[in-house]
């Protein structure tokens, strides 16, 4: 088990190192010099040079990469070119919106998908199964940002149960914050829940064909008992993979959903920074998102080992 953990941990660190290099390279080849952009087109060349020096843009690229990556390890993301404030602080503020939103959505999606998928598998081919599958077919096809607009139209504009957008912050208490995130979370979660429910169902149905399910039936378990006691845990293995991948979709999806609901999250920060050529903020936010995805996949790998004893022994 410990060996498995360290092996995964090593691959996590390697992935992060390579990812940081890729992000740095992509952003660095971007056209447009932040210093000249900030000073406007009429700026004198020596003023631009001075600003470049001040921002640390005059040193060779590899040095800047090392400085940036090294800073990341210690939690120092550098200073924003535009706002001259700590990037770490900017990111942390926004993270308090984006992360709860993604987790909220993931929770909703799992809570909807598991029962739906298991229910559909247990009633394979019957009316209940067809209804759930039809609904998921539709759910997969709906663009989440459009769904968000529809939610706003119905629940904010017509019914006035929720605000159409904005975020009050967590200072006012947990509930107002959660309330503001509810419509965005639903918009994010439902299409993902549809995918997850389909995976849960098909993975369960695959398991139903396994020999050990027949053994379980021969022991005297009913179809449903066998499904619950032997099917679900085995079916979790592929489902976990999808949950891991979904986290990345949710984070990315949140960027667009934040636009619909005017939420001050990482998504708005990234658009703002791209517009202002605030490259260091862009790099940091993207790196943070990649970090989140890699860490979640690491956790999924650990969860595999809990679910599947064969993995504990291997590796």
């Amino acid at each position: 088990m410990l060996r498995y953990f360290f092996k995964r941990l090593t691959s996590l660190i390697v992935s992060l190192a390579i990812a940081s290099l890729v992000i740095f390279l992509v952003v660095e080849v971007a056209p447009g010099d932040p210093a000249s952009y900030m000073l406007g087109i009429n700026a004198q060349p020596d003023t631009v040079a001075a600003l470049r020096a001040e921002l640390g843009l005059d040193v060779p690229k590899w040095q800047r990469f090392l400085a940036w990556a090294g800073g990341m390890v210690t939690g120092d993301f550098g200073t924003s070119y535009t706002y001259r404030t700590s990037v770490s602080q900017m990111v942390a503020d926004r993270l308090w919106v984006s992360l709860p939103l993604a987790l909220y959505a993931l929770t909703l999606s799992t809570l909807i998908a598991f029962p739906a998928g298991i229910y559909a598998a247990a009633r394979r081919g019957k009316a209940g199964d067809l209804a759930v599958m039809g609904a998921t077919q539709l759910g997969v096809a709906i663009p989440n940002f459009w769904f968000a607009m529809m939610l706003v139209l119905v629940f904010a504009i017509n019914l006035r149960w929720f605000n159409a957008g904005g975020f009050p912050g967590w200072e006012g208490g947990l509930l107002p914050g959660l309330k503001a995130l509810t419509l965005p979370a639903i918009a994010l979660a439902l299409p993902q829940a549809a995918i997850l429910a389909r995976v849960m169902r098909s993975s369960l149905l695959d398991i139903l064909g396994e020999d050990f399910m027949r053994t379980a039936r021969a022991k005297g378990l009913s179809y449903r008992q066998a499904l619950w006691k032997h099917g679900v845990r085995n079916a979790l293995i592929p489902v976990l993979t999808i949950i891991g991948l979904q986290f990345s979709f949710l984070l990315a999806g949140a960027i667009i959903i934040e636009q619909v609901f005017y939420l001050p999250g990482l998504g708005r920060l990234i658009f703002q920074s791209i517009g202002q050529r605030d490259l260091i903020v862009v790099e940091s936010v993207v790196m943070l998102l990649v970090f989140a995805v890699i860490v979640v996949n690491f956790l999924v790998d650990l969860a595999y080992a809990i679910v599947d004893p064969r993995l504990r022994a291997r590796a």
Binding site: D211, F212, T215, A218, G220, L221, S222
Partner: protein, 567 residues
Amino acid sequence: MTVFSDPKYPGEREGQSPSHRSDRANDPKPLLDIQNLSVAIHGKPILKGISLTIGMGEIVAITGESGSGKSMTALATIGLLPHGSDASGCLSCNQDDLLTLTEPQLCKLRGNEIGMVFQEPMTALNPVQSIGDQVAETILIHTNTPRAEAFKRAAEVLTRVGLPQDRFPLSRYPHELSGGQRQRVVIAMAIALRPKLLIADEPTTALDVTTQAQILDLLQKLVREDGMGLMMITHDLAVVSDMADRIVVMRHGEIVEQGPTRALFANMQHPYTRALFEASRHQAALEDKPGGSALLEVRSACRDYRTPRKTLFGPQGSFRAVDDVSFTINKGERVGLVGESGCGKSTLTRAILGLEPLQSGAILLDGQPVFTHGNTNLDVRRKMQVVFQDPYGSFNPRHKVERLITEPFHLLPDPPIGTKRREAVAEALTAVGLHPDDAGKYIHAFSGGQRQRIAIARALIIRPELIVFDEAVSALDVRVRAQILDLMADLSRDYGLTYLFISHDLSVVRSITDKVMVMESGRIIEQGPTASVFDNPSEWYTKSLLEAAPTLPPATGGGDHAADPTL
């Protein structure tokens, strides 16, 4: 309702459980009584009015070729027929008519009154649950036993099937056990509540011969101790010949013959039964051939596999699958290579075929190395062809027979074209007993036996010197197997072929080879003329293999094969 007793006292059960078992001690009514049972799946008849009985403590073997309906009989008895099945007739076990019971009633019966053991132990256990959990589950779902008590009993049952707690604690997972050990766990689950009827569907088919013997012994012991009835499904007559009290022979969903084992063997009424029996002990007529010059030489061959690191930065381990193997096959010889699974025979075969490189040593065909500088040598390879085990997996389903069997032409510097090509195809198909017109068909139009013929045609078409048969008849029914063995013998005579015959099945090797090699743990431990190795093995391991191999009783009424002087 179930009472647990010490397994050491077989007769105790009746005394402790007066409910209905003791009543039946004087009751002539059989435990399982199947009368005129018919089963159709989606309207297609699978079982056609079969009748048979199994009494307490009786072992009844149901045998037949694939498609005979023997497994369906087992599934019907435990009420687990596939969806869309329709059963009629009378199937009563212990006075319950199983066909009229509701699903919840059947659930109460399964695992409690009727236990079942399946063919494939590698997949029959839930991989994410410990064996203790899985055995205790049988107890927990049928009785109100507290968990701790159920696990204690599970431990007792596992000990009883030969998995003592000091070596196989309840916390073990299936992947930590071998196939034979897993089959013991499946048996433990099936007998945990001492069912009255145990159904075993090909319980040893997936196991090695020595393991098979142990599992058969175990099943016999359990039946005798508990007084269970045992329905034993098998395709292999030899497996049941010295174990079953009675034998039921099935074909096409019907029972062709049944009777007490000894009487049935002594006096086979139905021609099909005789045909099965003959085929099971079939001896291909091999011509004596003078051994020619050396064709295949294997010199100190070693093949290692890397195993995962034990520690994070530790050295990579390695496993030696083939360990310093040397032998020579002369032109015209038919040589068998036998051994149990994991002994390295598959790896050695792949190395000979040039599919895997060796770490050290050399493999020479006609004096030339099979491998040169990491590349396979085409000049050498065209002298050698292979026939694989699986008649269904060894052809690309998208190609027609002509394209399939001409694939080895790729090895020739100037492959025949046009008329010559068609002639070659026709000749190869004719040689294996098929029709030249079959060249235009797709592979799914052929049965398993015909596919093996096509596989042999493919091997034959470039006129190789050596043909490697890798378990080539293991997946075939006995009668088809006998025909294919005869074909092999004929071809060896007509084309002067040399054979390397890899198999786990000793009887097959005995019938088609004149030399044999026995492999164990990557080494060849014994080799020599087939007859002398089989009749007079010098190694303990060879001896144990031969002893474990099930054999049919000698044929009565002038069975000429038994007296074959070449054996």
